[in-house]
């Protein structure tokens, strides 16, 4: 893709994101749906930092997503009624857990890495599910709400005003995505791609591969927990489903559906997935079969994702 084309894509993505709350209603959606696209898009892009750009197969990102959500929810419920602080706590909890678990599993690769990440994610699911008195168990954690942003001179009501909350989320999204883009353009990011392409050669070149994979894992989980934290704020609620392995699978299918090899791909995948899930689950009780069938069809017919296909068409 040439430079002009790249800038064009970026401009188009940002234009859509900036105006989304204003036309979402006209096409049959609602502002909350737009916010969900951005939040889950962030989670999928965070996963893709590891999956698409480092080539490490993590199937347990729901753990860090859910830890971010619970960290935020519990801070607001039990500690301080401050939205920024609760986000900070959520992100810290998720990132610290990722740093510890990452250190344990960094020697594994491929399917084994996937299996261990799935299994570890389940630990947090059981804690949230079992520890009723603190986490609310299966019913989820309720009885708290996101708080207005206090900026000293003024206060922004993100609770009552859906659009204000959307733009707060979009700002966080922009910062996160900007950092990831910068990292991928840096020598560090190039090294990650080198590891993806040929790990053995990277090792022979003297690159500390395990260290790089660990850092990539932690960065990826950091942004996944930010997404989880925003997701809890969006719903004013969180439950163990945010931590379940099916959620991890959803993130992976979003990344694959949009295109793992492209930066914006997972966001597009997330948009398609969220809208489809919203539509199917409001029209049929058997939405699980439809989502399952969707997984199968994507794997069989769209393994390169939407952007992968577009790029191929453009090249030919």
């Amino acid at each position: 893709m040439n430079g002009l084309n790249k800038h064009g894509t970026n401009a188009a993505v940002w234009l859509v994101l900036l105006t989304m709350p204003y036309w979402m209603g006209a096409v049959g959606g609602y502002t909350e749906l737009a916010t969900r696209v951005v939040v889950l898009g962030l989670a999928a892009m965070a996963l893709n930092f590891l999956l698409g750009f480092t080539g490490v197969l993590s199937f347990g990102h729901a753990a860090y997503f859910g830890l971010g959500a619970y960290g935020t929810a519990m801070t607001l419920k039990y500690l301080v009624p401050s939205t920024p602080l609760s986000i900070l706590v959520g992100v810290c909890v998720g990132t610290i857990a990722a740093a510890i678990i990452g250190a344990m599993i960094i020697k594994l690769r491929g399917v084994y890495f996937a299996m261990v990440t799935i299994a570890f994610a389940q630990v947090f699911f059981f804690i949230a599910f079992r520890w009723n008195s603190v986490t609310g168990g299966d019913d989820g954690l309720t009885g708290w709400k996101r708080q207005a942003l206090k900026l000293g001179f003024t206060s922004i009501d993100i609770l009552g005003n859906d659009k204000a909350f959307y733009y707060m989320v979009l700002v966080m999204f922009a910062v996160a995505v900007g950092i990831m883009a910068l990292l991928l353009r840096s020598p560090f990011g190039r090294t990650l791609v080198a590891i993806r392409e040929n790990e053995r050669r990277a090792r022979f070149l003297g690159i500390p591969v395990d260290m790089h994979v660990w850092i990539s894992f932690v960065i990826s989980c950091l942004f996944a927990s930010l997404a989880g934290s925003l997701y809890a704020l969006l719903n004013n609620f969180t439950d163990p489903r945010a931590l379940h392995w099916t959620q991890s699978g959803n993130f992976v299918i979003m990344a694959v559906l949009g295109g793992m090899r492209s930066f914006w791909g997972p966001l597009i995948g997330a948009a398609i997935f969220v809208v489809l899930q919203d539509y199917v689950s409001s029209h049929t009780e058997n939405w699980m079969s439809f989502i399952g069938l969707f997984f199968v069809l994507v794997v069989l017919f769209f393994p390169r994702g939407v952007l992968g296909i577009l790029r191929r068409k453009a090249a030919s």
Binding site: M104, L108, A114, M115, A119, I127, G292
Partner: protein, 289 residues
């Protein structure tokens, strides 16, 4: 106290036998084809519900024999039509495909047989406790453990003493060489997949008798099976067996002292094993890459 402990250790052994049966099937498929079969729990549920449907016609024993074979047949078909296309591609894709299948199977069983749990009829003489002192030793549980032992014995006999088993083991080590030596690898992988699914179907029929039938019966057993494989050792079937029994017994013992950590204990064990011995208890070094 000691009786309670004994009860829970035995209970853990029964549960562990299940985990092992599930995990052995998963492990077979993973080792030869590099596919993590997320739909394994779905196959288990299919086995259980098929047996339930068959009982009125062919009785408890007939269903016990026939249902696992029918499940294996479905497995062969799924491998032939869907999973075979994905060999040689990034393992990510087979993972996602079986993940989608797991969704479809769970929802499908719910659609066909209903969401409410159904009782699974077992012969009366199997449900009575064998002694008043050890009330937990019902015939069915002993029968189940015996049957799992038999199945595992048969599996290892097949793997070690038959031509098919030797080819499977050889293919696990170096599939390319096996192919060059004239073995039809496509059929080998197909049969191996069917063998794994047979074990899932058998586990399903046995689980139905103990837990009753519900559409989520398989999904609740799949995670412990993953843990069993990781604890026991990647690439080692005896390790998988050991891992399953170990985490089952550990959960049983934990139930006595700290009931809310029943599920968590196996993940703690997994963490410890990964720290001290990343390849698992009986795993060979170098299989983890």
């Amino acid at each position: 106290m000691s009786q309670l402990l004994l009860f829970n250790v035995f209970n853990g052994l029964v549960v562990g036998a299940f985990y092992a049966l599930m995990a052995l099937g998963l492990s077979l498929i993973l080792n030869l084809s590099g596919v993590i079969n997320f739909a394994h729990g779905g196959f288990l549920a299919i086995g259980a519900y098929l047996a339930y449907t068959l009982i009125p016609y062919i009785g408890f024993w007939g269903a016990l024999v026939v249902a696992p074979f029918l499940t294996a047949g479905i497995g062969l078909l799924v491998e032939r039509v869907l999973i075979r296309r994905l060999y040689g591609r990034d393992p990510l894709y087979s993972l996602l495909l079986t993940f989608g299948l797991a969704y479809i199977f769970e929802d499908g069983t719910r659609y066909i047989w209903g969401a409410q749990s159904l009782p699974y009829p077992i012969p009366n003489w199997l449900t009575t406790p064998l002694s008043t002192e050890f009330f937990f030793l019902t015939g069915y549980r002993l029968f189940m453990v015996a049957l799992v032992a038999l199945a595992v014995g048969a599996l290892f006999f097949i793997l070690n003493r038959t031509r098919l088993g030797m080819r499977i083991r050889a293919g696990t080590l170096d599939l390319e060489t096996v192919s060059v030596l004239g073995v039809n690898v496509r059929i080998l992988r197909n049969l191996n997949f069917g063998l794994g699914i047979y074990l899932a179907g058998l586990a399903g029929v046995l689980a139905a008798g103990m837990l009753g039938l519900q559409p989520t019966i398989g999904t609740s057993l799949i995670m412990p099976s993953f843990v069993a494989i990781i604890v026991g050792g990647l690439g080692s079937l005896p390790g998988t067996l050991l891992g399953g029994l170990l985490i089952g017994v550990a959960s049983g013992i934990t139930t006595v002292f700290f009931p809310s950590a029943t599920e968590a204990i196996m993940y703690v064990m997994m963490g410890v094993v990964l720290l001290l011995r990343p390849q698992g208890l009986l795993g060979e070094e170098g299989r983890t890459q």
